[in-house]
Amino acid sequence: MLDLTPKEHSERTALRINSCKTCQPVGALYCALGVHNCMPYSHGSQGCVAYHRTFLTRHFKEPAIASTSSFTEGACVFGGGANLKQGTKNVFDIYDPDIIAIHTTCLSETIGDDLNSFIMDLDIPEDKLVVHSNTPSYVGSHVDGYFNMMCGFIKYLSKNTGVKNGKTAILPSWSNPGDLREFKRLAALMNVPITMFPDQSGVMDSPMTDHYEIYPKGGTTIPEITGLGDCDSVIGLGEMTVTEPCEQLKKKCRVNYEVLPYPIGVENTDKFIMALSKMNGGNIPYAIEEERGQLIDLMLDSHIWFTGKTCAIYGDPDYVLGLTSLVLEMGMIPKYVLTGTPGAAFVNKTKALFDKYDVGEKCVSKESGDLFDLHQWVKQSPVDLLIGSSYGKQIARAEDIPFVRAGFPVLDRYGHPLSPITCYKGAIRLVEQISNALLDRIDRDVPDEQFDVIM
């Protein structure tokens, strides 16, 4: 497996090998799936959306709907306005969403389609809406596409009516439904009324019912998105992802925000709970304290297997930051930390974490990296554990490293999007998974006389 990867690192400036990111449009599409009765719409060639739907479907094992302008060569020459006009009409006719969320592609961006004016020219049915965001594939990554589409919704819909609605807005970074449900559960336990946007739970984890619904029950509703402008305040979950939409909402509707680290691990979750507690007068129910205490208990009980163990973590910036924070809390050394998404802030934030735990000299962090980099690092000096998306499984096999899947995409396993890796419950799940991975390896490798049935 990956036998052609040499140990020696050579500088690359042009060739991307085994990418650890993908392009903006899929992020925009995923964001739009988190809006109720919304049809995501890709303004570009039809192949884009075919890839994106496939990718999301494989992660969630759920249908991921989206439409497309189906550019042909002619559209490239004359511009995509006609396609958009016809396309949105057909979508409203056939698929009858309440809203169409358009994102651009490298194609429509390269030819310079002006979506603002195109949309002005559309003949949109009454009570229906069209929003858009620009998501050129050659800028940033799928993470940028996700938050750009959030900005698009906010820009088009959110309003400050002057009357506060008493709600707290939660703007989460790219999350699995299991995590989104966890955010909502905790807010409910705290008695904090919220609007969460976007919210793919109930959409990308919908139950088997014998009756397919193109628009499942879940998703943030349009009035809720409009109402974001009347929220008391905003909690952004994921510093690397949702700062921009928070800022957007502040600019447009003057709602104050606090952006927190994505709540993976103890301290990051503490921050989320503390932020929620500002909204409810500081009341933190025992149930939450109990969950937290169970997590700490578990970490103490099992720390003997983690201390000083090295790991490599890769994936999207907020996931990686959260996971890095958790493994540091567990006493592990996040020897290699890598994201494919560009942005120096990632490196600064990981370094701050390394320094906080005094492991700066033992750890490397990289943005705009790829899995070929990671593999070469591992070849040069191995790690005890690999944490990240499915594509790392090649490295895990090649170098015989225990592997815990987390983040996007996890294409080759089932059930994972249903359960959280965030907040205290999610950390319990991760600690269990990580300890299982490490202990399974010990059980595999020790000689018979060291094979323990107790631990």
């Binding site: 052609l4 050579s10 690359r12 400036t13 042009a14 060739l15 991307r16 990418s19 993908t22 392009c23 449009p25 719409y41 570009g44 060639s45 192949g47 884009c48 075919a50 890839y51 739907r53 496939t54 990718f55 479907t57 494989r58 094992k61 759920e62 249908p63 991921a64 709907i65 439409s67 497309t68 302008s69 189906s70 042909t72 060569e73 002619g74 490239c76 016809q86 396309g87 057909n90 006719d93 056939i94 698929y95 592609t105 490298c106 194609l107 390269t110 050129p136 594939s137 050659y138 800028v139 990554s141 088997m208 019912t209 014998d210 009756h211 397919y212 619904e213 193109i214 594509y391 090649q394």
Partner: protein, 531 residues
């Protein structure tokens, strides 16, 4: 109202007019109706189709195992076509490279779009040479590349000179054509121009063939080669499953081309016949009867009695081996109905395999076929080209004065043609039953609607629609990736397929979909059958 009318009823006039030509109800009078195909999908329609790049890089070029293929463009396209087609590839021998586990992209950034990406492509090739030193590099372009005017062909020529390797650029931008099909065409042209015929490795066995349009998904090609070898037939190369570039280069030395996927590769089959004198035979290794027919046809082509006897012995042996298992599945499947919506040839091939088990196909459609794939090659001269196809180069070749060779004399060839379908394909519609539907470019809405109206027991399709169909209570299996199973080709593959279908239909949880506090739904509880 019949199914077609019911489904079309929802459309606006404009879409109605378009789609009604793509949906055919077979009338069973033996005449093959005309279908609209290879036409653009209307914007806004949720088509399941992919793009030109997907057809070129994803389908044809990607599987070539020892070639380093660089996707030139922003990161997405390279990323999505990484490891997702299940084209199995083994190193030809120890130490030979296998690049299919890797993805390579120029990951174009905004400045590359603004100032041109050739420089980055050149640098990427330089880096690829330094790290991997491959014997060949292929470049596949994505949407922006053509628009910004990067001359990838020039870079390829330069690369060949600079590094002394084979380098081929494919201008397979996603917006070209109306589906993956344009990409197959472009890929085929590239292989024909720059690969096939460039290396004259002689064959060792007169019964040496190429398998065209076999991408070795789930190991189908491995199984076909196993059977052919057992019969005494050598395979020079597949196009392009598990293919090594040097074998592709020497493909013109074979004596017969077997065409599996007519759509994606018939260009090469035709051109090789003209240029190198190699006849092609439409084959089908999907299904027991089909595999037997295919093997017998090959035997007839070569006309060698020993070979023919050997083929009969192999058929007898392999059929005997699967007889009991086949019966087991047939008992469980007879009377079931299926819908098939897949790429270019499977919607046809798998009807025949389903027949082996008594399953009737009530709907079949292609994602990116042309009329000839539905109606047979006879209609080719009557196909009118539209604007979307015009920009795809149509190559013409002529007989190569040095490399042309013919296994059969013209007279022998004529005689054999009377017996076996040489250079001929009758299309999928041929043989489809009265009342069954043929739908081209079946879209998301139609899938949902036809599923509800026709209530097939099984819907074979791709991953994008699979889960929607399943949520609606109908078993669905992916026929692109085989749901991570396979091989399905050949005798043993047919059994694997039978196993998988039975498993899907009889998995007990179908009986548990409706909670006891709801009325039992229409789906019957199937219990047992863990075979």
């Amino acid at each position: 109202m019949d199914a077609k009318t019911m489904v079309l009823d929802k459309y606006s006039a404009r879409i109605y007019k378009n789609r009604k030509e793509h949906i055919i109800v077979m009338d069973g009078n033996g005449e093959i109706p005309t279908i609209a195909a290879n036409a653009r999908s209307a914007p806004g329609i949720i088509t399941e189709r992919g793009c030109c790049y997907a057809g070129c890089k994803g389908v044809v070029v990607g599987p070539i195992k020892d070639v380093l293929t660089i996707t030139h463009g922003p990161i997405g396209c390279g990323f999505y076509s990484w490891g997702t087609r299940r084209n199995q590839a083994k190193a030809s021998k120890e130490g030979e490279p296998v690049f299919v586990q890797y993805m390579f992209s120029t990951d174009m950034q905004e400045p590359d779009i603004v100032f041109g990406g050739e420089k980055k492509l050149r640098q990427a090739i330089k880096e690829a040479m330094e790290i991997f030193n491959p014997k060949a590099i292929m470049i596949c372009s994505t949407c922006p590349v053509g628009l910004i005017g990067d001359d990838v062909q020039a870079v390829a020529t330069e690369t060949e000179k600079l590094y002394g390797i084979t380098c081929i650029a494919f201008s397979c931008e996603g917006y070209k054509g109306v589906s993956q099909s344009a990409g197959h065409h472009i890929a085929n042209n590239g292989l024909m121009k720059q690969v096939i015929g460039t290396k004259d490795t002689p064959i060792e066995n007169p019964f040496t063939v190429n398998i065209l349009g076999e991408y070795n998904i789930g190991g189908d090609g491995f199984e076909q080669i196993r059977i052919l070898n057992k019969c005494g037939i050598d395979v020079r190369t597949s196009f392009t499953g598990d293919a090594a570039i040097d074998d592709l280069k020497a493909a013109h030395m074979a004596n017969l081309n077997l065409v599996m996927c007519h759509r994606s590769i018939n260009y090469i089959a035709e051109m090789m016949e003209v240029k190198y004198g190699i006849p092609w035979l439409k084959v089908n290794f999907i299904g027991l009867e089909s595999t037997c027919n295919t093997l017998r046809d090959i035997g007839k082509f070569f006309g060698d009695q020993k070979l023919i006897d050997r083929i009969e012995a192999v058929i007898a042996e392999e059929m005997a081996e699967v007889a009991a298992e086949r019966e087991h599945y047939r008992t469980r499947l007879t009377g079931k109905t299926a819908a098939l919506y897949v790429g270019g040839s499977r919607a046809h091939h798998y009807q025949l395999l389903l027949n082996d088990f008594g399953v009737k196909t009530v709907l079949a459609g292609y994602e990116f076929a042309h009329r000839d794939d539905y109606e047979g090659r006879d209609v080719i001269p009557t196909i009118k080209e539209d604007a979307d196809g015009k920009n795809i180069e149509h190559m013409t070749v002529e007989a190569d004065p040095e490399k042309y060779h013919a296994y059969l004399t013209p007279e022998q060839l004529e005689a054999v043609k009377a017996e076996i379908p040489l250079s001929e394909y009758k299309g999928m519609m041929h043989g489809m039953e009265e009342g069954s539907l043929v739908v081209d470019d079946l879209n998301h809405y139609e899938t949902e609607a036809f599923t509800r109206i026709l209530k097939p027991d099984i819907f074979f399709t791709g991953v994008k629609d699979k889960y929607a169909i399943q949520k609606d209570g109908t078993m669905s299996r992916q026929l692109h990736s085989y749901d991570y199973s396979g091989p399905y080709a050949g005798f043993k593959g047919a059994m694997k397929f039978g196993h998988d279908v039975v498993m899907g239909l009889y998995t007990p949880c179908w009986g548990m979909v409706s909670p006891p506090w709801k009325n039992r739904a229409t789906i019957e509880a199937h219990i047992g059958g863990g075979n």
